[in-house]
Structures are given as structure tokens and as C-alpha cells.
Symmetry: C2
Subunit: 332 residues, 2 copies
Amino acid sequence: MSVTLKEVAVRAGVSRSAVSRTFTEGASVSAKTRAKVEKAAVELGYSPNALASSLTTGRTKLIGLVSNNFHNPLFLEVFDLFTRGLQERGLRPLLVNLSAETDPANSVRMLRQYSVDGVIVASSTLPPSFAEAFRDVGIPVVHSFGRYTSSPHVHVVGIDNIACGRMAAGALIARGHKRVAFLGGPKGATSTEDRAKGFLDALSAHPDIAVSISYAAAYSFDAGRAEMIRLLEGTPAEAYFGGDDVLSIGALSAIQDAGLRVPEDIGFIGLNDMAMARWQNINLTTIRQPVAEIIASSIDLVVGTIADPDRHPETRLFPCSIVERGTLRPLP
Amino acid sequence: MSVTLKEVAVRAGVSRSAVSRTFTEGASVSAKTRAKVEKAAVELGYSPNALASSLTTGRTKLIGLVSNNFHNPLFLEVFDLFTRGLQERGLRPLLVNLSAETDPANSVRMLRQYSVDGVIVASSTLPPSFAEAFRDVGIPVVHSFGRYTSSPHVHVVGIDNIACGRMAAGALIARGHKRVAFLGGPKGATSTEDRAKGFLDALSAHPDIAVSISYAAAYSFDAGRAEMIRLLEGTPAEAYFGGDDVLSIGALSAIQDAGLRVPEDIGFIGLNDMAMARWQNINLTTIRQPVAEIIASSIDLVVGTIADPDRHPETRLFPCSIVERGTLRPLP
DNA sequence: ATTAAGATTGCAACCGGTTGCAAAATCTGT
DNA sequence: ACAGATTTTGCAACCGGTTGCAATCTTAAT
């Protein structure tokens, strides 16, 4: 079927080692031998079998990219950046889609069978224990978009969700709103818990401001819309912090359908700054998450840990910033 | 580092072959031996090395998933369905992001080095020659979302873009519009060419209807918006067929900003039926592309071709349907 | 020309599995 | 209990590479 090293060796009239060495960075081969081998290789259309070599070198250059966020538009950007970033370093992403029904233990086993050099878990909704399962079997792992912990067992790269919650609260306070609310994502998600915490925390210094909290069933348009419809049956707050952009956009659609104006009647601030937030017919004021930096940093960490497996787990949090658009009234 | 077959063999007091056989479907092992081996395996935490076994079996269960559509929201659904579908069959997607700067030949070489069992090229903008490059080196390949050809060199699965163009034209004609237009994607894309062809084709039977065509720079919000802004400087058509949903949404934003009403002043029909089209604050009338069927069929084809490499290339086109929403006035 | 140092080469063993084959063990029927 | 059929088992070679080591070849210096 495909051309092997041995065939090239025969054709070039050299040993198999010589062929192997011409294709190995920094190995000792004379110019003459190299020329012969390269000639034979192109004539035969040879290209070395990466998997076979991984057997002896112990490196596959395969990186498991595990996620359960295949419905969040932000993750299209995330996949784009991860695949590009990994490719630039000569690494190959082996994608694992962790849907609700798949057994996490299964994905650990599978990635072990394929001897991935490292794993990147890209999810804000998976528990820390998931990423730790990889570390437990000796695979370097980074949890991207994960939760900060003071004594991490694995590398975590992401944003400070508590600080984001505070930042959102600050934006609403600065605008003089007296009844504010957090419309969170699913109750169990660590990201939502932390954002709620920071939000309440900042508002605890303002007893004159009424705060309420509710949770959507998921980080999704429909869930955000449904929860907002429910909220509109009562007395809605003056301004909301939405747990995520897509959820916020869903909520906004409900507000518009109710005939209310944004930001005049109800203000809204989202989180993520995904591509659609910028669309002029959405125009969502939101908190930008520095996705590119998070991803570059995650790749750095996983590569670094592959090089030095005993490297101490570290947490890297990136600062977020408010992107002013049209769903929050201007600062006074 | 990791536990090998040999260690399990020693611990279980059997030969290496015996261990190999207990982990191979349908191999001959006695219940007694199997029990001993399985016991030793769990005690040691053994899991077989898929890459090593691929060396002899010639199957890696790796499938290259190549795409250059990392900015099209539809492709989040595409990646979700592909990864899930492949996983269900015990296959692993090796993702390749073909951005503008990467050399296509490079990705062929790379996937060959990793001995992928097959390749799925998921793109409506790549030329047929790209997928053919895989077939040329003997790798089973399917071009998903590719263009129909009467004598295909590789499997093609997708929609009949010409028929879609006709369908869009039909929808506009049925509504009695007398000045219609196609706002296409990038001029070079085969999908846009075909959609334009079908559109013009259907309208050629209606000499009383004025038709015009223009092209956006890309299948993107910004490109659609920019082109629509340009069109609004002149006399716009009464109704548009947008080359794609995200482009259409961009165009709609320009129409709204110009103070025109949709569908009263300008009607719009998109193509794809991506998640956002359904959002109530977008509510785009569009032509639905049966993504799930296309993907299931693509996986079937690649699996089938792996089993029978001499299988004749075939083209599978799936019918599209109009999804009525709010951007086209009701039928009279 | 001689020699020591350095570069290049091939041998052979190994990476972690699979598999054809023949020997050994087990089962069947009588 | 025995012959014949069937199943199970281990040996050894192989998949496509890499690499330590010793032998050979170059090169530079004397």
C-alpha cells in the first residue's frame, strides 16, 4: 500500500537507519547520503509514518481537545483558535465531543489508547474532577475556561468569573440603576456560580439597590428567552446581567417582543463578546473574554507540561473588559 | 510510563498472544485465560495502545476532518454532528483547520503520516481538486457540502445548489415581486455560482421580472452588510435571495438601519437555516439545508469506502425546503 | 605520511502490539 | 478409555520506524 522506510533504503542503497536519520531533525547524515535518500524518497513518494515513530519516541504530537460546548457560538472561535494554534506548533488536535450521554471515563480511556501527548479540556461547565482524571493517568492536561482554585490540581486558564460578576455589577451601579438582577446560566455551572457571587458581592455594598437572581436552564437562546418571559410576567428589574451572550440575546428577544425598549426600559449586559454581539441588529453591551489569549496560554501550558511533566499546576486568569454597545444606557 | 501488554502477560502467567487475543474482538481465548488476563489488566490499569496495533492491523480508526469554515456558525452544528457521528462508530476525528495561509498539500501529507483511515472534507468553498488529492494517494475521501458533478472523482454529499437557486426564485416569483436579486457569497465559490445559476434559470421564464446579481466578499455578516449598504445607495430590488444566512442577516441589518421595513419594503430569503435564523429577533425566512442527513450520509460513505476501497465514487444530493419565517411577505 | 579526533554508517535490538502456524489441550462420540 | 475433531495456546516473525554502539570513514593537525 504505502511506501516504507525499507523500500526507500533499498532504492537509495543505504541502511534503514540512514533513511530514518535523514528524516530526523538533528541526526548525523552526510550530505551525500541525504541527497541519495531524498531522491529515492521523492521518486517513491515516501512520507514517514508518524504513528510508527511515536512507538519509539514516545511522542505522538496528538493533543486531545475535549469539549461539551458544541452549541455555544463562542466555541466556533475557540475551535478555530485552538486548531490553528496547535497546528502552528506541529501538533494535531484529536477532537472529543463530550455530549451528555457519553461517559467521561470513556474519553479518558480513549485518549490514553491513542497516546495523546496532552489534553486540553475546553469547557466552563465541566467539573474540575474531569480534567484531573487525565492528570491521574499521567497525561499533561489544561482546563481552559475552567474555574479558579487556590490550590489547583491541574492547570487552569480562564477568566476570573467573580471579578466579571463584580464588573457587571459595577456597570449597572454606575448607571444609577436601583433594581438589578443576574440572569444566570444553568445553576450547577461553576461559571454561573462565580459570576453570581461576584455580582452579589459588589452589590452588597449598596443596600439601596434591590438585587435578584434567577437561572436559565442552559447557556442558550431558548433558555434565556424562556426565563426572561417568565420574569416579565412579574416586575422585571431595570437592568440585567446575563450569564452569557447567547442567553442574553434570547432574553433581549423576549423583552422586545413584550414591547419594551432597550436600554430605556430594561438595560442588559452580557458576557463573552461572541461574534453575534457585535452584529448591528443585536448590538449587545457585554463583557469581553480574551479568548485568543486564553487559548494561546493554554497551548503554552500544555506544551510546557509535556516538556516538563513535573511542572507545578498553575492558574492563569485573564482580565475582562466591558465593551460598550447599545443595550446599556450611557454613563451619566 | 504506561502499562504494556507484556507486563499483563507476565502478571497473568500467559503469553503475550493470549493477552492480545482477549482484547481482540472474536479471537479464540478460553474463559479461564480471559478471566486471568482481565484480572491482571485491571490490577495494572492496562489499556491497549491503539497506535501500536494499527501498525499491524493497518487501521487507525482515525478520520481526518478537514474544513476551512471556522467562521460560519452553521459549522458549529456540522462539527457537533460529525464528531458525535464518528464517535458513535468508534472513529476519531483528527481536525484540520485549513486557513487561507496553510498549504493544502501540507494537510494531505500530514494526514497521510498519521495513516488516517479516511478523510472528510467539509467545505462548500474548496475546489473538487482538493478532495481528489486524498483519493490520489489512496485515502478514502468524501467531500461534504461539495459541488455536484456528473462524473465525480470522489464522493460528494450535499445539496443541489442549482435547485436551491430555483427554489428561492420560485418563492420570490410566487409572491409577485417584479424586481428581484441574488446577493451571493464570494464570486469564486462553487456554491454561489450554482445558486446564481438556478436563480437566473428559473427567472428566465419570467421576462417581466427584473433580475440583478451582486456578490459579497465572503459568506459573512460584514460582507453581507457592506454589499447591502452599497446596493441601498442605488435602487434596491423588492426582494433578495441571500447566498447564505449569516450574509443575509448582515444585509438585513443594513436594511433596518436604512429605515426600511422587512418584509414590507424589502423581502429576504436566506439559505442554510442555521441556529440564528430561528432566533425571534432575526426570524429569517430561509432555505433549510438538511445538515444532519448530509453528515450521516457522509459518514456512511467514508465508512463504506474504507471497507471497500474500490467503491465507485457517488454523489448524494439532499432536498432542501423553505422555512417560512418573517422576512418574506406571505403568499398571496 | 601518520595519527588522533570527529563524523558517518550499519547492525541489531527495541517500541507495543498482531497473527500464521504447529503443538498442546480439550472435547466428542463410542 | 481411545481415536478423531475442535479449540486453545505459545512461538516467532512481522508492522514501520528509532537508537545505542561499535566499526568505518573523513578530516585536520603534526
